[in-house]
Symmetry: C2
Subunit: 563 residues, 2 copies
């Protein structure tokens, strides 16, 4: 399990000591001091109300799973209370309680999951699925407005790769497998799933599917919904096993209904996923003359079929943060970097003021194929005045790619507010949306001389458009951290709706996006989701209060109508 | 409109006169004579019962659409009675009636469609959407078991390309546009949708979306569900407009629910589709040593990222049919072909007995890119012992690619039974499925010395698998044509279920596949479809008796429990 009130490995923290430029950069943006003023509570310091246990339900699940896999321990309940959103961490830091599950269940297989659901139906028990707990939209938090018992079902015991089919290039994998677990098993047999989201180390296949996750290599392998061939979804109304075929015309795509259902229809217990053989890999840094030019460049790469495996274009602020995070370099390396920069500035007249770093990653079966892909991509980069910085920048980004979430804890410890938002839109919409959202966030975050930090990168590109991923930070307003956060959310989602962008490209809805869902999907779309829900879960037992507005009053609790 | 009792342009027929080898080939397979013994009735010879008109409904739709766009004429009603399945054509030939719509409506825009649906809800009128009428699974036939009035809604007046977005490379197109109509508009602006199903000349965008259609270039551009960015679906419960974004994580994919809904949720009125610029094009014939080797070859092309834009591998029988269809060649061309064949046989020891023709098509923005794609594909073909026959075979296939359905009429005119079935499965399943289904069909079709014709091609390939498309023909059993056809269908679908293949890759369900749907999707999957249906069409007005079994008794009418 991850830290209770922060990100990741309890034994690991983001190390500031050898990054002399980082805190001065953060301070200049936000005015944030470097003293720890808002540490997280530990789970052991927290109390939870006594569990509301339904004896009939407990007997049934204990009989099905064995007593060792049914926990009512305070620590287990606390560790399955929150996800990892800013709101979640704020509450963990301040000791603000939320509705903890009354018990945590650890089934070993599909039939145990089905037994849990049967008992839930019989005794009217709320069921919240739990993978790795990395969700940042409230997706794993019990609905506090629903009376009666609540259990969280952790799939962490279901983590095997059941079948690897080398001919079809698919793997049948249990939904509770963490990223590193399933990659280790696949890698040992020469394959990879190719799905590496920021949360990779702590999130599970089932969580990725339930939330429509995207990994860093999505430009080549797609989002998780593009990788899934078939899946098993256990619902209170029975178990759905979708056809294990590459495409079908037998009605609406049921796999694409289960994917993104966020536990509201039931629990995904396993899936058949496309896998690909391990091969060569290379990451590079590219310096692009500006963010708008970069958007055009990535669009061109997409349309000319020259998109790398990974393409991540940072705006100026995120580029500056990236350079500020670098350990101090010395000697020949530092000298060479300086000389190269001087050459670009004076000889090539490269416009450093707007320069943006773009990370490109190439994967291919053979070195020759990789070289061919690299050649095509770099040729188009040159057409756009972009400069190849070589593989050391790429390797350094690759090595630290899972560290960003740890940095959030450092900032929050010191009294900072930091959050992310991501969206997708068509190419014609992206530049205007970017500039307007960045300006609006700065206007919201600015405090005197401190403009606030608004980093952004474009990643996950498609022929019709791409994803924009914003990270924003400022000094938290003591005493009104939550209103400050909700105000930022409102500002952001109103702008996304105005531009016709989606509310989320890969983080899901949970309860955090509920207030905007009816305008985003429309009343008919919501009716269809409610019809689906009702068809398999008429008692609204499965993850109530998430995804679909209007089924419980939970939304009003999190977004009081007054604010 | 197409012919009443046959395929395509009423002024066009398949010309046997310059194809001296074709009928001997057909006769050798089936024993079929060359005299016309079972011609189709013409619509003018048929009668239909007087329409059951609901006065309130007629007033409402006449007010909304104008009297000129509301037809109760016998011919219009007859021409919107059937699709183009073997069963449909049989009934047209024998003058067997079916339930004709009581009126045919021709709305001009979304708000007129919405007005029709409002009136349908008010007066309880059955609504059947109609695009081009090429459907071969009973998808456009009114449900004869539903009492009360039935209207067919033809979208043929809604055929404009509304917006072409060159930046996002998308086009907003009205659903009633026929293939040639929308391609003409897009081509004039330098773009193409890239969707060319066999029915292209007579089918519409809305029909493609409602049935999950696949075009011949799907290896590059995907099936229709891969091309759609967003769409508008008018339902009795309101209109759904899905987000115009490349990807989203806001719950289940509502576009992928509308796609494949076969009119049961309402009418798709327009969609935003990915388009791509026109470029270079080249088709080639490849001779492959055998069908199983060909499957391995196509799989390898897919896995090594060298799949052409079109890949269509015919089995031996379909290859033989293709050569039998060729006009007689003379002079230097015929001599060169003979010499080449002799060279392959004697020098290269090519195994002609099992030879299979594979058509490969390449499309690319520039000639250089096309050459590079061709080089990669042909290199892998050579590894598998396949021989490049050059572009004339490809060009000849390309020129005649829409003629196959016309050949069916010729065969049926002469007392033949001919039908198609297509499926998709993972690569590991395909060879066994192919051999077992082919053998079973031959066992079913054989009559004495005549083995029956079982052609098959593999097309539409994906990393996990591909589509198999069978065409089978034999002498029709006079007096029991329909039982003979239903027996073949039963045999086929039982085998598809046994192998875990899908019941259809791109022809949809209609009522033809209903008896197998509950085993294919499972009871929970059907429950979800029924829940969706109920959420927007609780009165079951929209295309009742299609896709979802158990909502009307129509299924028992078409597949009497006794047979």
């Amino acid at each position: 399990m991850m830290k209770f009130g922060g990100w990741g490995d309890p034994g690991k923290a983001y190390d500031l000591s050898h990054r002399p430029n980082l805190w001065p950069f953060v301070r200049a943006q936000s005015g944030l001091g470097d003293q720890i003023i808002a540490p997280s509570r530990r789970a052991a310091e927290m109390t939870v109300p006594a569990p509301r246990l339904d004896a009939g339900f407990m007997d049934a699940v204990t009989a099905a799973l064995g007593a060792a896999h049914v926990s009512t321990a305070t620590e287990a309940r606390l560790l399955h209370t929150y996800g990892k959103s800013y709101r979640d961490l704020l509450r963990a830091r301040t000791g603000t309680p939320a509705r903890s599950p009354d018990a945590v269940l650890f089934p070993a297989n599909r039939s145990e999951v089905e037994a849990i659901l049967r008992a839930a139906v019989q005794y009217g028990v709320q069921v919240v699925p739990f993978g790795g707990g990395t969700n940042i939209c409230g997706g794993v938090e019990p609905d506090p407005t629903r009376p009666g018992m609540c259990v969280t079902v952790s799939l962490r015991r279901m983590k095997r790769v059941l079948v690897l089919d080398r001919v079809a290039r698919t793997a049948r994998i249990e939904a509770g497998a963490l990223g590193p677990e399933l990659e280790a098993e696949l890698n040992a047999r020469g394959f990879s799933l190719g799905h590496f989201p920021d949360s990779f180390e702590f999130s599970t296949l089932g969580g990725w599917l339930a939330t429509r996750s995207a990994g860093m290599q999505s430009d080549a392998y797609g989002k998780i919904e593009d990788m899934v061939v078939s899946l098993t979804l256990c619902t209170p109304g029975g178990t759905l096993v979708t056809s294990n075929v590459p495409r079908s015309a037998t009605g609406p795509d049921l796999s694409q209904i289960a994917v993104g259902s966020e536990g509201t229809l039931g629990l995904i217990t396993e899936a058949v996923m496309r896998v690909h053989p391990l091969g060569e890999r290379e990451y590079r840094g590219i310096l692009v003359p500006g963010f708008d030019q970069g958007i055009n460049l990535v669009r061109e790469l997409t349309h000319r079929g020259a998109l790398p495996t990974t393409t991540r274009l940072s705006n100026q602020q995120e580029t500056a943060l990236g350079f500020a995070m670098k350990p101090k370099s010395h000697g020949a390396g530092a000298f060479a970097a300086k000389a190269f920069k001087a050459y670009l500035r004076h000889v090539k007249r490269f416009p450093f003021d707007n320069a943006c770093l773009m990370i490109v990653g190439f994967e291919a079966a053979t070195h020759r194929e990789l070289a061919e892909k690299r050649r095509r991509t770099l040729a188009i980069c040159r057409e756009f005045g972009a400069v190849n910085l070589g593989t050391s920048v790429g390797a350094s980004w690759f090595a630290g790619k899972y560290d960003y979430p740890y940095l959030r804890d450092v900032v929050m410890d010191r009294g900072g507010m930091v959050d992310v938002v991501e969206t997708a839109a068509t190419w014609d919409v992206l530049p205007g949306l970017y500039h307007e959202l960045k300006a609006a966030l700065h206007a919201h975050l600015r405090r005197g001389e401190f403009p606030g930090y608004v980093g952004c990168h474009l990643s996950h590109s498609y022929p019709a458009g791409a994803c924009l991923y914003f990270t924003f930070a400022a000094l938290a307003e003591v005493g009104r951290q939550l209103p400050q956060y909700i105000e930022a959310k409102k500002l952001i989602f109103e702008l996304l709706l105005k531009h016709g962008a989606t509310l989320t490209h890969h983080h899901a809805v949970g309860y955090e996006l509920l207030p905007w869902m009816s305008r985003h999907l429309g009343e008919t779309g919501l009716q269809m989701l409610r019809g689906l829900k009702h068809s398999v879960d008429p008692q609204n037992l499965c993850n109530p209060g998430k995804l679909i507005p209007g089924l419980t009053p939970a939304q009003d609790l999190y977004f009081p109508p007054a604010t």
